[in-house]
């Protein structure tokens, strides 16, 4: 990202600083380094980037594989506390008609509370609708870790972790383990959303969710709670609501892993999962493929001695691209590996780039032909790293 443009824009924006009322009953929110970005490729091969600076979400695009980006446009007029660190990041998607859709998690002053926010652009990212809050329970409660998926033709789904059932139970002095997954859907590219629906109860509270649009509609992946505290992953189609266990790692932990999983669907409707576990069955970072009722055995990713973690997967056509981050004792390293046959065989893991300071997790992008990795870091800024994938099928 061009830092000069950001600086100019920030300097030129004449938004008066809002008078911040200090309420001492609430937690102060120190400015966290907002390095976690959202990115996507549209149907024309354009890279879109959503980046948080100064409590604003900025959207820009590149026509030349990330060499130059357009002037970033602020999504909202009012600043807000947007989750953009660790496993929280803004989400961006572009529909076939060019509608740009965004979702993010907003933190509220009271600890562990927030809102799931949504905005869109129908003029190619020149201007954005006033952000709306998707959670419709009217509570100051926990709403976080949103995921956004679209079918490209107008259908939109947003899922998130929601504390409303736990809060309601607590008000009646009843016990409630974990959180819940809720979602909202749109049939008109985000102009209107259906009322919230509950997908499931008793999920892990502090790991990202993931959402992918298959031929059978949107499928969500999240870290679930099995029994008292076994935190393995579950999958469910939002339409049927049928929840199935996705991993059998048997990770029993009465704690927040802060380390979730990712899901993508390829052009042949195969699901690709990446996830982290420290379970009895296996420990580390893993990949597997689910297609036609069959599953590949979990394949270990990365170097456990380098704390390999926070993998993300992208897929299109027969291309599958996985990225993750390691720390080699000296610097952060962005790693990637790809498959051009739908996950049957894989390239050797590549060491793509390094950073000696604070950094985001690398994000994979593919349209089935090219494979790119987006990596933001405090020192180097946003880097777009292309992979040589030969002649992809």
């Amino acid at each position: 990202m061009n830092k000069d443009i950001f600086a100019l824009l920030l300097a030129a924006s004449l938004v008066p600083a809002a008078a911040v009322a200090m309420d001492h009953s609430v937690m102060p929110h120190p400015a966290k380094v907002a390095l976690a970005v959202g990115a996507t490729l549209d149907g024309n091969g354009r890279i879109w980037l959503a980046k948080v600076e100064n409590q604003q979400l900025w959207v820009s695009w590149s026509n030349d594989d990330g060499q130059r980006f357009s002037r970033p446009v602020a999504v909202a007029l009012e600043p807000e506390d947007i989750g953009a660190s660790a496993e929280n990041r803004p989400k961006i998607a572009v529909a076939q008609d060019g509608t740009v859709l965004l979702s993010w998690s907003q933190s509220l002053p009271k600890r562990f509370t927030g809102n799931i926010r949504f905005a869109r652009s129908i003029d190619g990212g020149r201007s954005f609708s006033v952000p709306i809050t998707l959670n419709d329970d009217g509570r100051i409660g926990s709403h976080s870790f949103d995921s956004l998926a679209i079918d490209g033709a107008g259908r939109v789904a947003v899922v998130w972790l929601d504390g409303r059932d736990r809060d309601a139970a607590r008000e009646k002095d009843a016990a409630f383990a974990g959180s819940s997954v809720y979602f909202a859907q749109s049939l008109d590219n985000g102009a209107h959303f259906s009322p919230n629906r509950k997908l499931t109860e008793h999920t892990c509270e502090c790991c990202r969710t993931s959402l992918a649009w298959t031929a059978e509609g949107p499928i969500a992946l999240w870290r679930n709670l099995y029994g008292t505290n076994t935190r393995d992953f579950a999958l469910a189609n939002l339409g049927t609501g049928k929840v199935r266990r996705a991993t059998d790692d048997e990770w029993q932990i009465d704690a927040c892993p802060h380390h979730g999983g990712g899901l993508a669907v390829d052009g042949h409707d195969a699901l690709h999962l990446v996830w982290f576990t420290q379970g009895k069955t296996r420990q580390g970072l893993f990949y597997k493929r689910i297609a036609g009722g069959r599953e590949s055995s979990p394949m270990a990713l990365g170097d456990p001695a380098a704390q390999a973690g926070h993998a993300t997967v992208a897929a299109a056509g027969s291309m599958v691209l996985i990225t993750w981050r390691e720390f080699d004792g000296r610097v952060y390293v962005a790693r990637a590996m790809h498959s051009t046959d739908g996950g049957a065989s894989w390239s050797a893991p590549l060491r793509l780039a390094e950073s000696g300071g604070a950094a985001d997790y690398p994000l994979p992008l593919t349209d089935g032909k090219q494979a790119l990795v987006v990596w933001n870091s405090a020192t180097e800024g946003v880097r777009i790293l292309p992979l040589d994938v030969g002649n992809a099928k």
Binding site: M27, P28, H29, P30, A31, K32, V33, A86, R111, F112, E205, C206, N229, I253, D254, A255, C256, P257, H258, H259, F276, Q278, A305, Q307, G309, F327, G329, Y332, G356, G357, A358, A378
Partner: protein, 162 residues
Amino acid sequence: MIRRFLFGMMAVLLIAASASAAEPVPFTVNSLAKIKAQYAGRPFILNLWSVNECSYCIAELTLLGKLAKKQKRLPLVLVATDSPGFAPAMQKTLGPLGLAGVDSWVFDDPIPERLRHAIDPSWYGELPRTYLYDARHQRETIVGVLSEQRLRAWLKKHKLAN
């Protein structure tokens, strides 16, 4: 009148002092060695938490706070995996839990993995996490919430219980 005002002021200051904890010390790659030197030949509890991202930690700190109130000599070291910018939030959290006087540290490195590695190479950042060090500094690792029962048994074993 003035005396009453001064009394009032003093009361306010006292309440403020008791409610908010001392500023946490920045925790860097060498900090664990310093902590161990400070507790040379003595057992101690190293508790890892986060003020911003761990609801389980608050439950655990509530337990530790209750214990600290009864147990004046509790050898407890708290290390938050947030960043120094969170110091005021940490102080506000620890004070009311009765942990104002506890040895408190906060991660200070743009690469938290470096600090995690210095503490325990097998730790990926799950919280809470506790290490019970004996007098020879052999340690037991507790992943997840520490149970009151286990903590009391450990205190008794190391002759730290009241």
